[in-house]
């Protein structure tokens, strides 16, 4: 039998190992020391204080009464630390077992222990670029996803909510990282387990804290998956000491405010527009538009009809049960959000059980188990014309009835062709209500570990982690409705069932040796890991149902072969990792780390990637020349350099695949057909990012003000790229590692305790400047075009590209004296810039007049959070913003279609009508039909590009601390919160300036960022809540 890594889990070897470790209880126990930790000023006991025996992994935290118990021998040093207090060290004296400790309040959180990759470090000693945020700080925000809570809170991390569909749409980009075709989402690591899904489904109330690793020194231990940054999530664990029960609950209502909605014509304006359309063209005005005033008060607002005020509710029950050897934390959650679009519902049942068992002072065992069930239903709200209900509703004619005379929803609407109506429309309210679009997910995330300390300072740890995710999607469109337009009713009823089953396991084995010799402190980490992922998918598409009430597969007359798929995707990853940290007197700091990843995704000739990093820091404030200063309480400079990878290159991209669905037919009989449809590349590998970071941390006035600055510069090369090849070859592309992008940026964060005393006012603010430039694409290729984007060497990625609008041709003389689109330009039509100066306007080809017309990337993004506490009251205000980015208002191709087919944006009332009545200049003449208006509508041009800078007040929460109630409730707090309070923006194309839809270009939005096709609006949410501890 061949030995291989896969057999690792099947073999008895590991279990033998675990057994050996379990049985090896050490015989030489230390004595137990115990004590109470208090705050020096008010003499209150402090729960949750970390008590560590220095140089070992023994340690505990104080219970709710501030008490602790730990095993320590005489001469060992207890390090007692807590956020907001200076760390205290006490040497254990022989004979003394009781220690009462008073901690001195400090503004500095440098004594905080921060979770880093494969371990934890004192914040003071960190040499990379790392930011942490506590789950507690995020608790009050009434949203379902962690990423929503993090918006604006982290320097260098741009988080956009691209759609309001519950549970979806968060786009997280660390340090502007992007790629042509590999993903750009960070790696999420939950309790040490790099999960394969994203974190949208994670119950945020399970989270203890979050660490964002940004530079290569911090991330390189995650090797080929680290280039997009790493987010470490630590879930709540039981703390030694007393048991407790706490309940967090909030409930509220969501709605879509009226401000910032895209303003469309009302029925009168629309009828007036149509009337003018026919008059201007010299055609007869259809009867229904002869008298626009007949529609006064008759506007049918289809968009508004799809919206409703919807409830949101969240319950979380946390139980901490702690005994001397066993500590367990259970978080049970129920979250229910009905959407602001009709028939939207998102429901999550979640449970997490984290247990740690201290078998002896040498052996610790732990288990985490986190099952979840999520059910959601969302109408097909997002998407382009013809597929997205919201888009379609937005420009449905405002004189088209939503309800009939009996007050029933109409079913099908079509006006006579002579009115200029070329499409038939379903009733979109019905579409939202009657189409089922449901996903049910069952997830299980679990970890088990055993940790053994055979000799002092050496900790050996082995863990097994498993992630199971099962998702079932079901869509049924009955014959009575359609999501799209222009399909006669009754339509062909159709269903899609899509079932994904994912299973990923990870085995990690690490050894950490910590040693201090005099003032030299070392830690050496070594490890070996194996991970494997398998996804099985079955999709069945069926249509032509005899009965809408029975949408079973067998109830369909047709199985749609093209939409029916079964597929298996697998990858495996084997890694070796090591890190050495060293410091001298906690003052001169150094870390070196390396990971080697072997991956099934990489070509046979290029199987292993090695990812090293090095970083160093110098705590200046510990030097004599600075530590006398009473202004500067802390100062550290640090620098790092390292190499990381991005392995999101697809599972089988290296192989030439034979597609066996190239079937044909002879004499009415299908015959199987197969052909090679892709080229192989045995040298295919990861994308490589080399990153340099330099930064400094500053604490002023006893750390009342702390300041962090980072500059980074990174180069991503070997971009996974589908190099277009001439299709005379029979293939469209060759997947290769090619091209290079340079990224650089500055990040500033400041924390200031503005006032102290009875009113405590703290401000956290951050601002980030991220830039990128394409350095190279493939040989001979210096640009890649999208429909309205270009990615070009020497320019930033994904710039908006098209013709530059100068205005409209104001009169005949203007037309005669200006370059034109031959055969198409007329007086009043769009006037474009003749960029190449050849006297005519051309789109594409050799005489192209297209140019860069906008930038989807902001000049800078920023966030500001203010927390105020006054006695028992607390108030927090969270805001974030983005400056200088543009959006491509793609929906104008339909919402401002000058052919009068759809309802129009209200601004189009001021279009060009004649040289005497030229309008505002945004929209041109309607005369001439598609030959004329098609230029403005169908050619990408700057008329679509608008400033989408915004400043958004994300959340305001006001809380009141009731405190203790009788003997039952230990503490209680009530609060009221408003989420998504107000967005200040010049953008007029819709309510969400963070929108970005990739319009089906299939690149995940990488090459085509910043496209607004209208999407699910993000609601404003009003909630009241309570946190009660028993």
């Amino acid at each position: 039998m061949k030995k291989n890594c896969y057999q690792l889990l099947d073999s008895k070897q590991l279990f033998t190992l675990l057994a050996v470790m379990l049985l090896s209880f050490a015989s030489y126990a230390q004595s137990t020391v115990s004590g109470v930790v208090r705050s020096e000023g008010d003499n209150e006991t402090i729960p949750g204080v970390s008590v560590l025996v220095k140089g070992t992994t023994r340690g505990t935290v104080t219970d709710l009464d501030g008490k602790f118990q730990v095993e320590a021998a005489a001469g060992e040093v207890l390090s007692i630390s807590y956020i907001g207090y200076s760390t205290k060290e006490i040497t254990v004296q022989g004979g003394q077992t009781q220690y009462d400790v008073a901690l001195v309040s400090s503004m500095s959180d440098l004594s905080e222990v921060v979770v880093v990759g494969y371990g934890s470090q004192l914040k003071k000693e960190i040499t990379g670029s790392v930011q942490t945020i506590s789950g507690e700080d995020l608790a009050d925000m009434p949203v379902s996803q962690l990423a929503q809570k993090l918006q604006g809170q982290l320097a260098g991390v741009q988080i956009n909510q691209t759609t309001g569909r519950p549970g979806q749409g968060m786009n997280v980009r660390i340090r502007g990282q992007l790629s042509v075709s590999a993903g750009s989402s960070p790696l999420y690591v939950v309790d040490g387990f790099p999960i394969t899904g994203d974190i949208a489904s994670l119950n945020p109330d399970e989270i203890q804290d979050i660490t964002i690793l940004k530079d290569a020194a911090s991330t390189s231990l995650y090797g080929s998956r680290a280039a997009n940054g790493v987010v470490l999530i630590t879930t709540k664990r039981g703390k030694a000491g007393q048991s407790s029960v706490s309940l967090n609950v909030y409930t509220g209502l969501q709605n879509v405010p009226h401000y910032n909605r895209l303003e469309m014509m009302d029925a009168v304006e629309f009828a007036q527009f149509k009337k003018e359309y026919y008059e201007d063209a010299g055609r007869d005005v259809p009867d229904m538009f002869q008298d626009p005033s007949q529609y006064v008060g008759q506007t049918q607002d289809w968009y508004d009809a799809l919206l409703e005020t919807a409830p949101i509710t969240n319950y979380n029950l946390t139980i901490n049960s702690n005994t001397e050897k066993m500590s367990t934390s259970v978080v049970a959650g129920y979250f229910d959000q009905e959407g602001v679009v009709l028939n939207t519902d998102y429901e999550r049942f979640s449970l997490r059980i984290n247990s740690d068992y201290t078998a002896s002072d040498k052996v610790k065992i732990g288990f985490n188990l986190a099952p979840q069930y999520i059910r959601d239903n969302t109408p097909r709200t997002d998407g382009s014309r013809g597929t997205g209900i919201l888009f379609n509703a937005l420009h449905a004619w405002p004189n088209m009835p939503i309800y009939d005379d009996e007050g029933e929803l109409t079913s099908f609407n079509r006006f006579p062709a002579e009115t200029g109506n070329i499409f038939a429309y379903p009733n979109y309210v019905r579409s939202a209500l009657e189409i089922t679009n449901e996903t049910k997910q069952t997830n299980l995330l679990s970890n088990a570990y055993v940790q053994y300390e055979p000799i002092e300072g050496l900790v050996v740890k082995s863990s097994i982690n498993a992630e199971i995710s099962d998702s079932k999607y079901f869509n049924f469109t009955p014959s009575t409705v359609t999501a799209g337009i222009n399909i006669a009713l009754p339509a062909v009823a159709s269903s899609i069932r899509d079932h994904y089953n994912n299973f990923s396991w990870l085995n990690e084995n690490t050894a950490t040796y910590t040693k201090s010799i005099n003032d030299h402190n070392f830690q050496l980490l070594g490890g070996f890991t194996n991970q494997k992922f398998r996804r099985e998918r079955t999709r069945v598409a069926a249509d032509t149902y005899a009965d809408d009430r029975l949408p079973t597969i067998q109830g369909a007359i047709n199985i749609n072969r093209g939409g029916t798929i079964s597929d298996v995707q697998e990858w495996s990853l084997t890694s070796f990792l090591s890190r050495l940290t060293y410091n001298f007197q906690g003052k001169y700091l150094m870390t070196a780390a390396i990971r080697a990843d072997g991956s099934s995704r990489f070509g046979a000739e290029n199987r292993w990637g090695v990812f090293p990093s090095f970083s160093a820091g110098w705590v200046l404030s510990d030097e004599g020349f600075l530590n006398t200063s009473d202004k500067v309480s802390f100062a550290k400079i640090r620098g790092s350099y390292g190499v990381t990878g991005n392995n999101n290159i697809g599972n089988y991209t290296q192989y030439a695949l034979v597609n066996n669905t190239q079937n044909h037919v002879f004499d009415n009989t299908v015959v199987p057909g197969a052909a090679i449809t892709s080229l192989s590349n045995p040298f295919l590998g990861w994308e490589t990012t080399k990153q340099f970071d330099i930064g400094f941390d500053l604490g002023l006035l006893d750390d009342r003000i702390t300041f962090i600055y980072d500059f980074y510069s990174k180069n991503t090369s070997n971009l996974l790229y589908n190099v277009q090849i001439p299709q005379e070859a029979g293939f469209g592309s060759f997947t290769d590692n090619i091209g290079e992008i340079k990224f650089w940026g500055h990040e500033f964060s400041i924390t200031s305790r503005n006032t102290e005393g009875r009113l405590v006012w703290t401000t956290n603010a951050n601002i980030s400047f991220n830039r990128n430039r394409v350095e190279a694409l493939a040989d001979g290729i210096d640009r890649v075009y999208g429909s309205y984007h270009i990615t070009q060497v020497g320019q930033p990625f994904g710039q908006f590209y098209g013709l530059n609008k100068l205005g409209n041709y104001m009169n005949q003389a203007d037309l005669d004296n200006s370059p034109q689109v031959p055969g198409r330009s007329t007086v009043g039509s769009i006037k474009l810039e003749d960029v190449n100066g050849d006297g005519i306007i051309t789109q594409g080809g050799d005489n192209d007049d297209r140019t860069i017309i906008g930038n989807p990337f902001p000049d800078f993004t920023y966030g500001i959070t203010n927390n105020l506490t006054y006695g028992k009251w607390d108030l927090s205000i969270i805001a974030s913003g983005s400056q200088g980015n543009h959006l491509y208002m793609r929906h104008l191709y339909s919402t401002a279609n000058l052919d009068g087919v759809f309802n129009m944006v209200a601004k189009a009332t001021d279009r060009f009508r004649s040289p005497e009545d030229p309008g505002e200049g945004i929209f041109g003449t309607t005369v001439g039909g598609g030959n004329v208006t098609g230029i403005e509508r169908d050619w990408a041009n700057s008329n679509f590009v608008y400033d989408a800078s915004f400043f958004s007040i994300k959340n305001i929460t006001l809380g009141y601390n009731i405190g203790k109630i009788a003997n039952v409730v230990k503490s209680a707090r009530v609060y009221a919160s408003v989420q998504n309070v107000y967005i200040f923006t010049p953008y007029w194309g819709g309510p969400n300036p963070e929108v970005s839809q990739d319009n089906g270009s299939g690149d995940g939005g990488n090459l085509s960022p910043g496209v607004d096709l209208t999407g699910y609006p993000i609601p404003r949410t009003f909630t009241v809540g309570a946190n009660i501890t028993f």
Binding site: K2, K3, C5, Y6, T16, G282, A417, G420, I422, P454, I455, L458, V460, N486, I487, A488, N509, F528, I559, N560, R561, D567, L573, T574, F576, S599, S600, R607, Y652, Y655, L657, V658, N660, Q662, N663, H664, V665, F666, D667, N668, V671, G673, A674, A675, I676, L679, S680, I725, Q727, E728, A729, G730, F731, G844, G845, N897, D899, G929, G934, D938
Partner: protein, 501 residues
């Protein structure tokens, strides 16, 4: 310490030999390493080589050939936005510069032909290395060569010179080749088709619908006629006649495939196969040929479907007044080929439009029919033979053949007596006999009459836009009929990435 040693040893065992763990081949797809090993593999590979023909017949050929000719035209629906790509082809207003055009239909035709070529190359490069039954191997090779020859012939007729790929591309560097002049393309395709004639069985011994010896002989005859190699064409065409495999069907209307029945009939030498239903093998070209906007009620009598839906947008491939006029009085083919429909939603005062009836066969579901597309039928063997005889001075023999065709159409014998008259008679006969079968454009190009015929047609159309389906007060774009060329320019998207053009 002993326990630590055990750990280290175990770690060592675990880390050994990871290569197998890291080798994961796709479970749900075959790869090049596992395919092209058996007879069944090659059968599938050959089947896949036919597959692009469906897309070509359904979406492109009628656009690039028939609508480019004076037989059909693009009918503007002024309420709808510009879809200038089709319009540019129909109006001879294709933008081109330095022999390159951005037209997407030209691009698509080019790519589909090269897809056939690449698949054939893959087969031909390895089939001789694999041992299996020699008879089936010869048949499969013959089909692959036929298809490669056919695809190059399409390319040669549309573009003249193109890159010549004869072996499969395996690396990025091999993808782009220089343009081989037209003559070189013809030399290769003639050689391919000649070999396929020697390898392929006659129709009665071949799988239904597959390329047979007769189809290959006809393809080569077509090539020779284009090259004006009349004697070579004559001998191939006579071999087809003498094979006894084919005959004319008495009633012209019965010649054409229905959605399910009457496929690969006795008059058919080669046709593109479709299948109605959910398998994805269906066509919907009939819908492309409808004047628009058409309501379900107007469309239903034509398609006979149970779930008819209306069509918006622009009408394509609408018969011109010129082709209608080309039918002689009493020609039975007229009513079999063209019918009329009244479109209430038309912006024209006169709301009746002609449409192609030849292929308008009833089928079950909207947008999904199985009507086969004719490529070669026996009537063309006879008219080709007539043409090659006439060109060699055997005008009397030619008259007998053309009259066979005219008889079936209910027409009197041809009045043509001189060689020149007969040449013109055959040219006209072909126009009506094969109306809308994508023959007309190539008849014009091989006769070198592009400027003469299309130039005159364009002038007439520009002068009478109402006759060419424009509503009152509307006319062609100002660049219509300004770029009348025999060949299409090469596609821009390919030009951008090949260093050779």
């Amino acid at each position: 310490m002993k326990k630590i040693n055990i750990f280290i040893v175990l770690l060592g065992i675990m880390t050994s030999s990871c290569e197998e763990f890291l080798t994961l081949t796709p479970e749900t797809a075959l790869s090049s390493a596992t395919f092209y090993k058996t007879e069944a593999d090659f059968e599938q590979a050959v089947n896949a080589t036919y597959a692009p023909l469906r897309s070509i017949a359904d979406d492109r050929s009628w656009l690039l050939s028939e609508m480019r000719s004076d037989n059909t035209i693009y009918a503007r629906n002024i309420n709808f936005g510009a879809t200038e790509q089709q319009e540019d082809i129909s109006d001879h207003a294709l933008p081109d510069a330095q022999g390159i055009t951005s037209n997407g239909h030209v691009l698509s035709q080019y790519r589909q032909d090269f897809l056939i070529i690449a698949r054939a190359n893959q087969i031909l490069s390895v089939i001789d290395e694999v041992e299996f039954d020699e008879t089936s191997k010869a048949n499969l090779k013959g089909q692959a060569l036929f298809l490669r020859g056919y695809a190059y012939y399409e390319l040669a007729r549309y573009f003249g010179g193109v890159p010549l790929h004869l072996t499969p591309v395996t690396t990025r560097e091999e993808a782009a080749l220089p343009v081989t002049p037209e003559e070189g393309i013809y030399n290769q395709l003639i050689s391919d088709i000649q070999t396929s004639i020697s390898l392929l069985p006659v129709r009665s011994n071949q799988g239904v619908g597959r390329a047979s010896k007769g189809a290959a002989q006809m393809l080569l005859a077509d090539v020779y006629i284009t090259q004006k190699k009349w004697a070579e064409a004559e001998s191939l065409l006579k071999a087809i006649v003498n094979s006894g495999e084919y005959e004319l069907i008495a009633n012209y209307e019965d010649v054409f495939s229905e959605s399910v029945g009457n496929k690969n009939n006795i008059e058919s030498l080669f046709e593109v196969q479709f299948l109605e239903g959910p398998e994805g093998m269906n066509g919907n070209f009939l819908y492309s040929f409808m004047p628009r906007p058409i309501t379900p009620d107007e469309l239903q009598p034509i398609t006979g479907t149970s779930n008819t839906q209306g069509l918006d947008g622009e009408g394509n491939n609408i018969p011109t007044p010129d082709v209608i006029a080309a039918f002689e009085d009493g020609d039975k083919r007229m009513d079999a080929s063209i019918a009329y429909v009244e479109i209430a939603g038309s912006d024209r005062d006169y709301k009746v439009y002609p449409y192609i009836k030849k292929f308008a066969k009833h089928h079950e579901l909207n947008g999904n029919h199985g009507i086969n597309w004719p490529i070669y039928r026996y009537a063309e063997v006879l008219l080709f033979l007539a043409e090659s005889l006439n060109e060699q001075g055997k005008t009397t023999e030619a008259a007998a053949l053309i009259n066979e065709i005219r008889n079936r159409a209910g027409l009197d014998a041809t009045a043509a007596s001189s060689q020149a008259e007969m040449r013109e008679a055959i040219f006209k006969e072909r126009r009506v006999e094969f109306a809308f079968e994508n023959k007309r454009w190539f008849d014009i190009t091989r006769a070198d009459r592009v400027q003469e015929i299309i130039g005159a047609f364009g002038q007439k159309a520009l002068a009478n836009p109402l006759d060419y389906y424009y509503p009152d007060g509307h006319t062609f774009r100002s660049n219509a009929f300004t770029n009348i060329t025999k060949y299409y320019a090469l596609p821009a998207s390919e030009a951008e990435i090949t260093p050779h053009f």
